[in-house]
Amino acid sequence: MSTIYILWLRQLKRYWRSKPRVVGSLGQPILFLIAFGFGMGPMFAKAGGGNYIDFLAPGVMAQAILFMATFSGIELIWDRQFGFLKETLVAPVSRLEIVIGRILGGATIATLQGIIVFLLTLLVGFRPVNIVWLPVAVGVMFLTSLLYTSLGTAIASTLKDFHGFQLIMNFLVMPSFFLSGALFPLQNSPNILRTISKINPLTYGVDALREIMVGTTHLGLMADVLVLGAVTAFLLMVSSFLFSKIEV
């Protein structure tokens, strides 16, 4: 337990201390909120989509979580390159404890990021329909964070350096974001895009947040949470396995 706690605490300290990182990682969600929210909003309303900020806000929260969580997982490569990973790997603790501590730490940071973005959406006029349900929204954020931190950790466990980073950005993170229904509805898009969005876990995170905060849903909260939970459990196992195979 103490091992998991100290690794979790380390991630939080690192996050808290790198203010440029906190501010920098908020830049993108703010840009999406302002550029899309105010730029596309009138068009969206004209097309009969309703209030675009209401549609967009949960999507941007999911975006912030997706990015932060994936990066926190991938940060493992830094620890490997700067040698800190070795310090944990020769300690008399199990690899499972190490990887759980890391993933919980990364997921906590990503959830915090999601909450900060939620507060920012209030500034541009977003009003959640039901305040009582907000703790459930935080729960969904944490589940989504766990999912992507595990994914990032799993990928990073197989990489030795940062050469693959651009690949992950362009072929995993960005498509996950664009094809999750976070920015625009995908119901009337071509079949192929809809299929991709259905196998994209972020779709379920966005849908769950929308259900809780806006009251619109396609699948229902239970189904969303079940899918997220199942994928998270699977990715946790995969990342633990791959992490246990790391040689330094």
């Binding site: 201390r17 310090e87 040689e247 330094v248």
Partner: protein
């Protein structure tokens, strides 16, 4: 049974292969409890690979190892509790303070809180970093980082202390200081010291037993005097060059060695 006379490290027919390349080739040696043991050899000779196997980071392809009576493959945690290590490359978290780094280590090694607090103060005073304990590592010089790593490696009272080129790139003052701490530790706590270095005068001054490895094989093993007698030279450097010198290297050098040298050169340039 008198434990102090036992071998704390026993290596028998140890081999490590990476695909076709044999990094460590059927080596056997022992290190006695309380001994200061120098493990020398040119770059790429197999020193670090051997240390990785002794410290549970790599699994041997063949052969057996006993560290403090335990097998690093089957009794990982017991072996890990037995040793402290200073790696060849820095292994601190730059974003944390000196105190946080060393406390992190204490928690991982389950050093009880009261012991931890006392021992951390004692060690940081010895390595002269107590005043800087609340500073972030990224503000530390290379020598300060090394001293902190030495202190950290000793926090859990290890019986063996591995140091892989602990003084690489440090100025003579810092190098002397680090060896002073290590010598003191060896005398006060009877900690076994297992180290590698390219500064042969350090091995000459510190080590009771010296082994030289090249191309994955141990080519000589004994006290300084024995080494000098066997090679008919009058210094360790003389013996080292004689044993690992150019003619011998080319005899068994292979394409992979050349590729490695090439890669290392390229990396340095960057």
């Amino acid at each position: 049974m008198n434990k102090s006379n036992q071998n704390i490290i026993e290596v028998n027919n140890l081999t490590k292969k990476f695909n076709d390349f044999t990094a460590v080739d059927n080596i056997s040696f022992n290190v006695k409890r309380g001994e200061i043991f120098a493990f020398l050899g040119p770059n790429g000779a197999g020193k670090t690979t051997t240390i990785k196997m002794l410290t549970t980071l790599l699994k041997p392809t063949k052969g057996t190892i006993q560290v403090n009576g335990f097998n690093p493959v089957f009794n990982q945690d017991e072996v890990r509790r037995s040793f402290g290590i200073v790696f060849q490359d820095p292994s601190l978290d730059d974003e944390l303070t000196a105190l946080e780094n060393i406390e992190f280590h204490g928690v991982l090694y389950k050093v009880p809180r009261e012991v931890r607090v006392r021992r951390i103060e004692e060690l940081l005073l010895i390595v002269e970093l107590w005043e800087r304990r609340n500073d972030l590592i990224k503000t530390f010089s290379g020598g300060m980082k090394r001293r902190l790593e030495v202190a950290r490696g000793l926090l859990h009272h290890p019986q063996i202390f591995f140091l892989d080129e602990p003084t690489l790139g440090l100025d003579p003052q810092t190098r002397n200081k680090i060896w002073d701490y290590i010598k003191e530790l060896n005398q006060k706590e009877q900690t076994t010291i297992f180290f590698t270095t390219h500064y042969l005068e350090e091995a000459e001054k510190m080590a009771q037993i010296i082994a030289i490895i090249d191309h994955g094989k141990i080519i000589i093993h004994g006290t300084l005097r024995e080494l000098r007698e066997k090679t008919q030279t009058n210094s360790l450097e003389g013996a080292f060059i004689k044993l690992t010198g150019k003619s011998i290297r080319e005899e068994s050098g292979n394409g992979l060695d050349r590729m490695r040298m090439f890669r290392n050169r390229g990396m340095k340039r960057r």
